[in-house]
Amino acid sequence: MVEVFAVASGKGGTGKTTSTVALGMALSDRYDVTVVDADTGMANLLFHAGLSDAETTLHDVLADEAPVEAATYDRFGLTVVPCGTSLDGFRDADPDRLRDVVAALAEDTDIILLDSPPALDSRTAVLPIVLADRIVVVLQPTIPAISDGLKVQEYATTYDTDVAGLLFNKIRESESIEQVSEKTERYFDGPTLAAVPESERAREARRAGRPLLAHAPECEAATAYRAAAESLTVRDGAAADAADRFQSAVIPESL
């Protein structure tokens, strides 16, 4: 069984990487989870997972200089594939190899979470959404975040990728999110998985290079992420053809 989720947002700063790692850790209670930093131009998963000194990263794999196993690390109950931060690494990486990476990882895990670039302006930025079975859209209750989130959804569904749900993030204490999330849901193909409060703990965790769920597992934000993971029903994919499925992931021919 394997299902691939792209954790996406149209806009930067929504807390996408924090959310990817938190969802991954919460899901790892029930599943074998692999988290991949697919934001190859602005990688930061490594800083969230205590891997800032990782020697081999996804960049090396995408440059065909290392096998994917060399860039996987077991951290916090997850399999983590970090990406490097050097410009050279980005330049030498062939984004198309991400298909093979996902296909290889898919053979040996239940869930793959792709931390996706917060943009839709290039092939590299959109590829994770194309490869994924479903997306989780990370939103903030602002007009640009919701508007960009809608665009991400439309790109995804155009490319035959479904919507698993919405994650409202960084909600301030004074904000009442119910009405906004209810109205937002009307336009999205998935439910609100959780509304995660803005959290000083999340900032501390990031500074400490630890995932939020390891740093402050009992805080409100961590609890919200666990609730989100709980409400995510993971679909059974066919393990046997996983490799095929991702290697041949293309835009539907009906376009």
Binding site: K151, Y155, R186
Partner: protein, 185 residues
């Protein structure tokens, strides 16, 4: 909303209204900005959004296409960029009578927070706002002046505009189809 013409200070195309808000705050502009969407596909593309400022802090918002003011006008203004933005400077005295229109007001941080999607810029804008703006904004808007509840009204007004959202979605779909070919997936 009637405004004296003012002196044209800047006229340019921006992709994100946030940049204009940051620029205006930075230069403590007193006057107004006219936002004109370059996107003709969208319904509100025809109207223009007008936002007034005192010392860089937003005061009123009005949209000529929908004839709405205040938070709903911010939602009307929110179309995918680019925008053509013209900034006009005025003397504070010239804005006094226009600024009496309480129904067109927005709280100081709302445009940056909800239209710009930049909480840090919203915080700086609130810090730059005079105290009476921060305490007076509750009137007729929501119980608390600068909290998220009051600010949400712009987001909700945006979400109430089903036609505009459908247009945004449709535009994204056609963009996605075009690019699939361009990118040769």
């Amino acid at each position: 909303m009637k405004l004296p013409r003012g002196r044209l200070d800047k006229s340019r195309v921006v992709t994100d209204p946030r940049d204009t808000l940051a620029d205006v705050l930075d230069r403590e502009l007193t006057g107004y900005a006219v936002f004109e969407s370059q996107e003709t596909l969208l319904l509100d593309g025809e109207g223009r959004g007008v936002m007034t400022f005192s010392d860089g802090v937003p005061v009123l918002v009005y949209h000529t296409g929908t004839d709405r003011g205040g938070p709903p006008a911010l939602a009307d203004l929110a179309v995918p960029g680019p925008y053509h933005v013209s900034l006009y400077t005025l003397d504070a005295a010239d804005l006094e009578s226009a600024h009496e229109a309480a129904d067109l007001r927005v709280s100081p941080g709302m445009p940056a927070e909800r239209l710009g999607g930049d909480p840090a810029l919203a915080d700086s804008t609130r810090r730059a706002a005079p105290d009476e703006r921060l305490s007076a904004m509750g009137d007729g808007d929501a119980e608390a002046p600068e909290d998220g509840t009051a600010d949400q009204s712009a987001v909700e007004a945006f979400l109430d505009d089903a036609e505009k959202i459908e247009a945004i979605k449709q535009q994204a779909r056609s963009e996605a189809r075009e690019r699939a070919q361009e990118w040769d997936f």
